[in-house]
Every structure is written in structure tokens, then in C-alpha cells.
């Protein structure tokens, strides 16, 4: 029973949504089912908040390793919650917009949350450099091909590529580095990407059929017995 009901729901909803692709009057059903998911997701946020508090309060009360960080999390959580619920510092009364200019909620969001997020994102630049260094070491044949392709594309996307190979006559223009870079991106690269995408498409259909037919049921919790 515990598994039967979810399997029946999955089968019915999955089958109906497949039919809706081919039967135009059923087209809106997909959107309606998504709404159901959104409604459930709203309640799940309480679960998420509750879990966050439980984990960090446990860590704090039992003085587990790095419990000091939990203080920051809990204080931040309740402070932002209070700023949002009671609209602390909002210009106007309680009915004013939560994100109004000058409200504490928006001020903290703009001056703490956004810069911290941007800092994390900015780290990507350094990680790209270190990952490129590792990938471009010509330690085997594949890595050498990758290195040459990357070198051509990097040169082709800068004025240096035109400067270096601009003298090649138009009849051999394909050998100019910017044109080579375009060819690499549009032919081998795109072909490879499309092959992966076709594989993903077939994989999605196969996985979906396994789910709809109840062959794949690990998502219900553990293996089928």
C-alpha cells in the first residue's frame, strides 16, 4: 500500500502527460500538475527551515566540532526572518513592500547577501585557471588534442589570431586562426554536443518509461523487495 499508491499516481500522471503531448485539449494539464508541485514545494520550505534549525541547534547544544559557525547561521536565520516578518526599518507601515528601499531586509540583502554570492561566483575565475592548467597538460593523446584545440580557440577569439595569420591569402582563409576557431566550435564541438544531447534525450525517455511503468522505484525509498 505504501508503495502501491505512489506507483499508481506516477503511472496515471505520467500516462496522462504523454497523451497531453499528442492531444491538444489536454495541453494545459502539464501546467496544472506543475502547480500541484509548487503547492507541495511551499510546505517543503517549512521542512527545510525546520531541518536547518534542528541540525544547527543540535550542533550548538552538544558543542560539536565547529559549533561556532552554527551561531552565525541561527542568528542570521532569525534576524532575517524578523526583518522580513515585522518589516523592521521599512519606510511606511507594515503594509509596505518587503523589498522597499531602506528596509533592513533589502539593505542586508543588497549589502551582505549579494556581495557574498558574487564573491563565491568570482572564485570561478581562479578555478577555471587551475582546471585549465590541469586539463591542458599534454600527458596523453586526448589531452594534447584538447590543448591544441583550446590554443586555437583562445587565439581565434583575440585580435592576436588575426594578427598572426592575417597574411594567409583568402583562397586559404580556412587556415586563418579565427576561421579555424569558428570551424572547431561549429563542427566537431557542436557535433559532439549534439551526440550527447541525443543520448540524453533517449536516456530521459527510457528513464521516464521505467518510472511510469514502475520498473524504477528506488526514488520511493530503497530497493524493491
Amino acid at each position: 500500500m505504501k508503495r502501491g499508491v505512489p506507483l499508481i499516481i506516477t503511472f496515471v500522471v505520467g500516462t496522462v502527460l504523454i497523451f497531453s503531448v499528442f492531444i491538444p485539449p489536454m495541453e494545459n494539464l502539464g501546467e496544472n500538475f506543475t502547480l500541484f508541485f509548487d503547492i507541495i514545494a511551499v510546505f517543503a520550505f517549512f521542512l527545510g527551515g525546520g531541518n536547518l534549525l534542528r541540525v544547527h541547534l543540535t550542533k550548538l547544544t552538544r558543542r560539536k566540532r565547529d559549533w561556532e559557525y552554527s551561531i552565525v547561521t541561527i542568528v542570521g536565520f532569525f534576524f532575517m526572518l524578523a526583518c522580513g516578518l515585522f518589516k523592521i526599518g521599512n519606510p511606511g507601515d507594515i503594509s509596505a513592500s518587503l523589498t522597499a528601499e531602506g528596509s533592513w531586509f533589502q539593505t542586508i540583502y543588497d549589502n551582505v547577501f549579494v556581495p557574498l554570492g558574487s564573491t563565491m561566483y568570482a572564485l570561478l575565475a581562479f578555478f577555471v585557471a587551475s582546471a585549465s592548467y590541469r586539463a591542458f597538460r599534454a600527458k596523453n593523446r586526448e589531452a594534447t588534442i584538447l590543448l591544441i584545440a583550446a590554443f586555437i580557440i583562445l587565439l581565434g577569439r583575440t585580435p592576436l589570431g588575426t594578427f598572426v595569420t592575417g597574411w594567409i591569402p583568402d583562397s586559404f582563409s580556412v587556415l586563418q586562426i579565427p576561421n579555424l576557431a569558428i570551424w572547431i566550435m561549429n563542427s566537431p564541438n557542436l557535433a559532439g554536443q549534439r551526440a550527447i544531447m541525443i543520448g540524453i534525450g533517449l536516456g530521459v525517455v527510457s528513464m521516464s518509461l521505467r518510472l511510469i511503468l514502475g520498473i524504477e522505484r528506488t526514488y520511493l525509498g530503497g530497493e524493491d523487495k
Binding site: I18, P25, F45, G117, R134, I196, M197, M207, I215, K225
Partner: protein
Amino acid sequence: MRYIFVIFSLVFLTFSAGLAQVDTLGADSTLLNIAPPAPISNLTVYDKANDHGHALILEWKPSPDDAAGKNTVMMYEIYRSESPDGPFENIGSVPSGNSRYDNIGILEKEARDYIPDNTDLYYRVDAVTINPEIRTSSEIFGPVRSYSNWFHRGRVPVLFAVLIFGGLMMYFVSVARKGAELYVRPLAGIAAVDDAIGRATEMGRPILYILGLGTADMISTIASFTILSRVAKQVAEYQTQLIVPCYDPIVMTVAQEVVKSSYLDAGHPDAYNDDMVFYITTNQFAYVAAVNGIMMRELPATNVYMGKFYAESLILAETGAVAGSIQIAGTDEVGQLPFFIVACDYTLIGEELYAASAYLGREPLMLGSLKAQDYAKAAVIILSILGIIAANFGWTAFTNIFKVLD
């Protein structure tokens, strides 16, 4: 000197105001003197094909005054009525140069744009000049009706593809059930999971499992649950520590159930605790910061990334590499695959992520679906080659068979 400047300024202002007045009058008189444009011709209205109804398409031949060198028509206004005698209601407009208007209605009866099905409707198109008063109406077209189609004929190739694929799957599942041995190509990334868990046990360090940024309704997240189930089962058997930080609360709830069941299956329900699977945040980079912190503090022996990943993929994988962890990744995000390939020891590319669950299960039903997938891929390769040949020789009859209409 100051008086001269003031007088000069006054004269200048007066002169400018006078010019402005003349200009305005001139413009007004030009607007009033526009000749009415020639009307549009050949107005046709027909039902939109392959839809749920409530939609009609208008096509016409533009007004002769909507052409280079004339350009007195600024736009076309569309009017609709339920009676040829009116009243006609303006339902939209398109700029000059256009000869088509898609009158797509809203399904709700209360909405202003609602178009009733199976009801006689009449249309008129006005060619409008820069002066909205000066316009010429077309002849009224009608009656015309919109109606719903019960089958989307433009998607017949998709239907056939699904039926053929479904048939192949059923066939191989039945073959596998009869006991036939089905060969499945080994997946290095999945085979490495066993070694990685063993390594974690030997080192006495935890295993970090990241489900990605996907929500529970994404196929890649569901595939990740399956792999998590296997990993958790082995972790339970080896009595290693498992850490599963989650981005989405629903994903966390499902992951808790999956891990708990796996511990139960492994015969160690007492080793499970809810703190293994926990929620962090639904903000991308805050989540990354938290997971990176865990990596650097806990120094996990193995990091497993399975699911949907975006810009955070490289930040996570590079931090894991710095922490000295063995890393196994799998995603269907094509844009993130190069980052994982570079930074991780093993990567499941695209469909391998979905195949992993079937590969791990080794159940006939699962393997049958994998085999069908392989045959479908072979068919796609053959059809692609035939398509290239047909396109180069101009055999449009062949390529049109596979054309899918939206």
C-alpha cells in the same frame, strides 16, 4: 552690455516660439491632409491547426500604400465581431509590413481575449495612417469558426518514435525475463564507486554525496536518488560516514527516505541518523560556500556529484580536488560536463547517469530498457547518416517524414 543680452534673448525666444508654432501648425495641417490609404485585400481567416481551439489565423495582402516610397500606412488594426453588422471590437494591431495576425484566445471564459469555439465570428482589418482618424477598413470576412483538434498531426513522427522505443523496451524486457544474458558496457564511474567507498573506509573519512541543484521533479535528480541508494547501502555495510547536504527541501525529504531504506536493507537501521541528510539553502552560491566549507573541514575521502549542476560545478569539483578527495561526477548538463571531466577522476556523461541505476541494479527489467536505448541510438545514427545523404541530394520527401511541427 547686459541690456543688449536681455533684448537679444527676448528676441530669440519670441522668434523660436513663433517658429515652433508654425511648425506645429504645419505638422497638424499635414496630418489632416493625408489621403485615406488603399485597403488591404485577400483577407482570409482560418482555424489554427493542431491546437486546443480558441485560436484563429488572419492573413491578408498588404495595402498598396504600405510599400517603399509611400509608407502612409503605419499599422493594421484587427477587429472582430460575432455579427457581420457589428459592433466590431478592436482585438489587436500589427505594424505596417505585416500580413498575418495570430488571434490566440485565452481559455477562461471571463478573460477579455476569450474566443468561443464553434461560434460564427467576423473579422475586419483597418489600414491606419499616422493620423488614427484616417484609415480604411477592409471587407468583412466571415463567418469563420475556431475549433479544437483531438490529435496533433504535426507530432506523428514523435508518436511513432515513442511507440517504436516502447516496443523495443517491452521486447528486451521480455527477452531478459526469459533468462537471456544481456551485455551492458561497463561504466568506469560506477565501477569506481565500490573502490571509493572502500578507500573511505580504510582512511576513516566520510563520503560526501551531492545531489546537485535540481528539484525532485527532474529526471537527473531521480537518477541520482537511485545511485544514492546504492552508495548508502554500501556505506552502511562498511560502516562509513555519509554526508548528504541538500539544496532543495523536497530533495532532502526524499533523500532521507532513500538513505534510511538503504540502511535498513543493509541490515544496519541503527547506524542511520537524520543528520546525515540535511538541508542547507536554496541559494546557489550560499550552498556552494557551505559545501566547500564541509569539504575543507571534513576532508572527505570521496565526493560523488550526481544530478543537475550549473555554474557551481567547477567550484565544487576544484575544491574537492584541493581537499584530495576521489571524485565521481555525473550530470546531463552538457555545459558543465567539461568542468567535471577536467576536475573529477570519473565522469558519467549525459545518459550514463540514467543508465547507472539500471547498471547497478542488474535486474532484467532494467537491463532490458538499457538494451532498447542502445538499439534506439543505433537507429538514430543510421537515420542521421541517411538524413545527411538525403539533404545533400535534395530528397526532401525523406527529410520531411521526420519534420515535427510545434
